[in-house]
Amino acid sequence: MNKTISLVAALMMVSSSVAAQSFDDAFNAQRAMYGKGHSFTFEGQTYTTDHPEEVAAAVEANADNAAKLLAAAKDQHAQVVALDFDWTLTKKLLKASAKALAGGDFRKSMDISAQAQYHARMGMVQYHQSQKEWVIAVPE
């Protein structure tokens, strides 16, 4: 369910960006179609559909790494909160991650942290896009 929502959001990010067939477009389309862990080629190069946060989380699951990822996600979240552009789900994700960490489920905590950090980062991307692009929605 949550995944679907971010998928929709990702799709929408695509349609609101101006340039055609950029790497971001291709990435987002592939991601929307296949989810994470899929490979695709773009201009001769092979890429995966993982978000940077997911790549960062693809390390050994232990207390130390989980704590680091959670801290990074919280930091990113604090930045988007300061812009007044945070998404409702992120707070819940951070809580869920902390709970998993406390319960010793490091893998789960790390995956959730990655998702939370991605949300927070996208919120910031959205903020900056909104500042520039709000004008195009105004009727003439």
Binding site: T4, A9, D86, T88, Q126, E140
Partner: protein
């Protein structure tokens, strides 16, 4: 189901794209022209719904959708907010501990003045909404401020609106500071936010009368005229800014502060867009 959802959102996005032109009114303090914005918005809706009279937009979605209009008219036969107007009148006329009352805080004893709110307050250097003025009145008379979203404040606001029915909205932008607040509100209205990446305009300009899941969003023209509203969903009366918070949650964003600067500026912009239309609050909505 999930696919349908993304398709619907996609459809409304496509519409956004089709109305995206360079606006004649600018996005800087030097170039922004509120009156041009207002006329552009009116002509946008007139082009999309040529059969709907501008004056009918005070009825929100019911100006556009006949089946829901019929149900709404049945509700308006005996609207649920009548109890709230009565209670609001009582609250309004109840004296504070110091013997003064709301009537002492407002022009014309508080009657028939809804159309002038929100207004730019030069002394305070900020936009003052009717609800803010109500609480400022309380605090200056040594009373505790009321909660912003529902209950007493909404009832008092509803009563004050009811004494102003058919008065024409006349929000003034007297100087550059006020214009800056207007511009900030305009930007808030058109800026996308939340996980669903939608702006107020996604639903209430481009998306007006287009199904978003099972709902038909109302047009922003005339949007504020009928507030506060008794929403069947709430089962009670609520203020405009309560609804703002709800909308921001609907697009999966954390709501901004009720009666904070952002929301007050948004209300300033949105009400200016409805200048020339009449007060018909309080209203009943689904």
């Amino acid at each position: 189901m999930k696919i349908i959802k993304s398709m619907l959102v996609g459809a409304s996005l496509a519409l956004v794209a089709s109305v995206s032109h360079a606006a004649s009114s600018g996005n800087t303090l030097a170039t922004v022209d509120p009156e041009a914005d207002r006329l552009a918005l009116q002509s946008y809706f007139q082009k999309r719904f040529p059969k709907v009279a501008v004056s009918d937009y005070v009825n929100g979605i019911y100006a556009l959708d006949a089946p829901s209009r019929e149900q709404w008219q049945e509700i308006e036969e005996f609207p649920p907010y009548e109890f709230d107007i009565e209670e609001g009148e009582e609250l309004f006329n109840t004296a504070f501990a110091n013997g003064k009352s709301y009537a002492d805080c407002f022009a014309n004893g508080g009657e028939g003045i809804r159309q002038n709110f929100p207004r730019w307050d030069e002394a305070q250097g900020q936009v003052v909404t009717l609800e803010l003025a109500i609480n400022q009145c309380r605090e200056s008379n040594g009373e505790k401020a009321l909660g912003w979203k529902k209950g007493k404040i909404a009832k008092i606001s509803a009563y004050m609106a009811s004494t102003s029915r058919d008065n024409v909205f006349d929000v003034q932008i007297p100087n550059d500071a006020a214009k800056a607040a207007y511009l900030d509100g305009k930007q808030s209205f058109y800026a996308r936010r939340g996980q669903l990446n939608m702006s107020c305009a996604s639903c209430h300009v481009a998306g007006a009368n287009i199904l978003i899941r099972a709902d038909l969003p109302g047009p922003t023209l005339g949007h504020v005229t009928h507030f506060p509203v008794f929403r069947s969903k709430w089962g009670e009366l609520g203020t405009l800014q309560r609804r703002y918070g709800g909308c921001q949650k609907n697009v999966r964003g954390t709501p901004q502060k009720t009666q904070g600067e952002k929301f007050r500026n948004l209300e300033f912009f949105q009400t200016y867009m409805s200048n020339g239309l009449v007060v018909n609050g309080p209203g009943a909505r689904k």
